[in-house]
Amino acid sequence: MSSPDIQKSRWQRFTDNDIVYSFVTTPSAMVAALIAFIAIAAAFAAPLIAPYDPFDPAQISLWDGKMPPAWVEGGSPAYVLGTDNQGRDMLSTILYGGRISIVVGITAVFLGMLLGVTLGVISGYFGGMVDTVIMRMADVQLTIPGILVAILINGIGRAALPLELREDFAIYVVIVAIGLTDWPQFARVARGATLVEAEKEYVQSARVIGLPGWIIMIRHILPNTMRPILVIATIGLALAIIAEATLSFLGQGIPPTTPSLGTLIRVGNEYLFSGLWWITFFPAISLVILVFAVNLLGDWMRDALNPKLR
């Protein structure tokens, strides 16, 4: 241990990090990361690896509709996971649908984070009336179940749009609805971290030399709130994907012409009674695996980034 850091290569310095150490010694984290990575990579590579383009109606044949998975009697090797009621390949629709779910999840969390962290840091830094107003708003929103808030915002957003734009903008409305539901979590954590940091000497001295408040907030406080924010962002991603699926399942989210996983589950649900289980089962299991992996990752990150739990 005599060799100083300078002599190590960049890679060695990177792997020497306590987070990386925690990662390589936690098998569940590695498995979760692997699954999440595969899911996200597969979703984004959908146009390259999917056998069909489910959004291109010219590739769909109604005569192939309602076909079971390949290994079930009546199935065809051309459609490994079977087809839906319109003759779309399930595997391809899941890949494309997963992509929409993940994009919606990530952008919604990012939106919530942007809003929540901004308000949280402002709230913690200024205190007083500003703090009271912002945090009471967050409290009020937290008393109402998130999904109801999302349905409300989504409903207003849709009603505000003219009919012909509703389908095209549905995805943005959903992102905004989930993002606006998420922010109180971020605001609370950011505020807590800000309160702690604001008392520290380096912030005090920055104030003394007369730096304006916004520079102190962005340059000094914000970077130090990022660790806990990262943890709730990861867990928030899983929740956002679920929220999107819930909205879509209720018919309030992504339209069936460009389905997300939630929309696929909803469409398939209509066929459960008639025994076409695969239309709803495969999207549902994909959603479960995706959310489970992201959740595990978030759990591990919470443990690894929290010194008290180590």
Binding site: P57, N85, L163, E164, E167, G251, P256, F273
Partner: protein
């Protein structure tokens, strides 16, 4: 001991209360609610069927679609009109008498510009009051089928309508609200107790109805709760939450039949499903073709007809429960013939050639307007059509919306390409011509305008020679078949799901008739 006694008495009281409430309550569901309770505002199947439990017409049809007297006891024809003898002692739900004055008022109301029944009411030139209980409906020349054309024209109370400022029908297209939209005052067997549109409508038996004791029906209360999700509708029937589902999804019929205590009834319906193409305007609203309307070219219309695989829709979407067709009116209606009924067939290659010949070899874009809570698998048929038309290069943007927003697009003639289904309560082609094929027809959003078809629509209103009349109807249908203003898909097959506790007589007009419904 005291407590035990108290318990015993309260138990007795509870059973007694239970016995009182053990009336025949029929709970039923379907995918879409009646659009309005104003009986002259929307000529739409479920709306007419719902209002028909509260309001009555002079003449009605039973479940076998045979004409039956309702508010008129008998009628006789003359060359200049028909005389109807009204039923005496009939009272509206608010207690006022039903008289000839109300008949005059109701016909005037049904002829009003905002009425959706004006095509039917126009068969009556004027109403002449002979005495309080006799009216003569004057016609422009002889009308051999007038009673057939009156079955959906419901009678309203003049006094009530005037008092509540609903002398004119609600203008549905203009989103008008009026007292009659949520309140009713009919003469029918049921009284509206409460109505929450798209949620719950409760009807109670009318104890003063003229027909009490004359019909087999024994319902005391009807609770109608629309459920838009097909799977939820079936689940409600399977779990016993409802007694009757008007439109169970076709893919679930086997499951319902297999469940203990449930049954399915099917019958060929008097309803055809088709797409309309606006060939009237000079430029389509939703297409990328500018300065021209591709639908004006008959080759394009033929290509659309050939590109849709009606048999695949029958097999995969409808589970076999449909009859592919080349005509927009079904067998059972005078005018449907074996010559005109067969489908145009399915031939993608020929369709592509026709598109190329018309100058649209690369296809074009268009929006398809489709209801998603009206016909059997309506949205799924549209989705299938999107994929089929893509194969001849037509990029279809599907807009599937609830019927309450879909139908105004057709009536305002603002749709380029739309799905519509048409039932024929009169069982006569005149009804189809006057609404869908005559250039002025209020549901003809295709802009189809053929002078001879217009002429025949008028001629058959007064032609009494059955043979000549039938020949005219045939001639018009042959013209329509050649010019293809529509893309006919199929005639629907009706399937109703119900518990063994109720016997609902199935009717090919898809109307639930409570007066014939028996609860065990």
């Amino acid at each position: 001991m005291k407590i035990a006694k108290l318990l015993a008495t309260s138990l007795v009281a509870m059973t007694a209360a239970g016995a009182v409430s053990a009336e025949n309550v029929m709970r039923w569901t379907s995918q879409g609610d009646a659009l309005t309770m104003d009986p002259h505002s929307q000529n739409e199947g479920p709306t007419i069927a719902m209002n028909g439990q509260i309001y009555e017409s002079l003449v009605t049809r039973d479940a076998a679609l045979v004409l039956q007297p309702e508010l008129a006891e008998s009628w006789t024809s003359a060359p200049d009109g028909w005389t109807f003898n009204l039923r005496k002692g009939v009272k509206f739900h608010d207690g006022s008498d039903f008289t000839a004055e109300d008949v005059v008022f109701s016909f005037n109301r049904a002829m009003h510009e905002a009425s959706d029944f004006k095509e039917q009411a126009k068969n009556v030139a004027s109403v002449e009051v002979i005495d309080d209980y006799t009216v003569k409906l004057m016609t422009n020349g002889p009308n051999p089928i007038l009673p057939n054309q009156l079955t959906s024209i419901y009678m309203m109370d003049k006094g009530w309508s005037e008092a509540n400022n609903v002398v004119n029908p609600q203008d549905f297209k203009a989103n008008e609200e009026s007292f009659a939209v949520r309140n009713t005052n009919g003469t029918g067997p049921f009284i509206l107790e409460s109505r929450a549109p798209d949620e719950l409508t409760v009807l109670n038996k009318n104890p003063n109805w003229w027909g009490n004791g004359q019909f087999p029906g024994n319902l005391d209360r009807i609770e109608y709760r629309p459920i838009s999700n097909a799977a939820t509708r079936v689940a409600a029937l399977l779990s016993g939450e409802v007694d009757f589902v008007l439109d169970p999804p076709l893919q679930d019929l086997k499951r319902i039949e297999g469940a203990a205590g449930l049954q399915v009834k099917t019958v060929a319906q008097i309803r055809s499903i088709f797409f309309g193409m606006d060939q009237g305007v000079d430029e389509l609203r939703t297409s990328d073709v500018k300065g021209a309307n591709p639908f004006k070219d008959q080759r394009v219309r033929e290509a659309f007809n050939l590109a849709i695989d009606k048999k695949a829709i029958q097999r995969v979407v409808m589970e076999g429960l449909s009859f592919p067709t080349g005509m927009i009116t079904p067998p059972g209606v005078l005018g449907n013939t074996p010559e005109n009924d067969p489908s145009y067939g399915f031939d993608v290659n020929k369709a592509k050639e026709l598109m190329a010949a018309a100058g649209y070899g690369d296809g074009f874009q268009i929006q398809l307007d489709c209801p998603n809570n009206r016909y059997n698998n309506d949205e799924k048929i549209c989705q299938a059509a999107v994929a089929m038309l893509a194969k001849i290069g037509v990029k279809v943007n599907l807009d599937a919306i609830p019927k309450a927003q879909h139908f105004p697009k057709i009536q305002k003639r603002t749709s380029d390409f739309y799905m519509l289904g048409w039932g024929v309560p009169t069982l006569d082609s005149h009804y189809v011509f006057s609404y869908l094929l005559a250039s002025e027809g209020s549901w003809n959003a295709t802009g189809y305008n053929n002078a001879r078809v217009n002429e025949i629509t008028d001629l058959i209103t007064t032609e009494t020679d059955i043979e000549k009349r039938t020949a005219l109807i045939d001639e018009a249908w042959t013209l329509v078949r050649a010019e293809m203003p529509y893309v006919p898909i199929h005639h629907q097959v009706l399937a109703w799901g119900m518990t063994d506790k109720v016997d609902v007589p199935i009717a090919s007009d898809d109307a639930f008739r409570p007066r014939y419904t028996v609860m065990k």
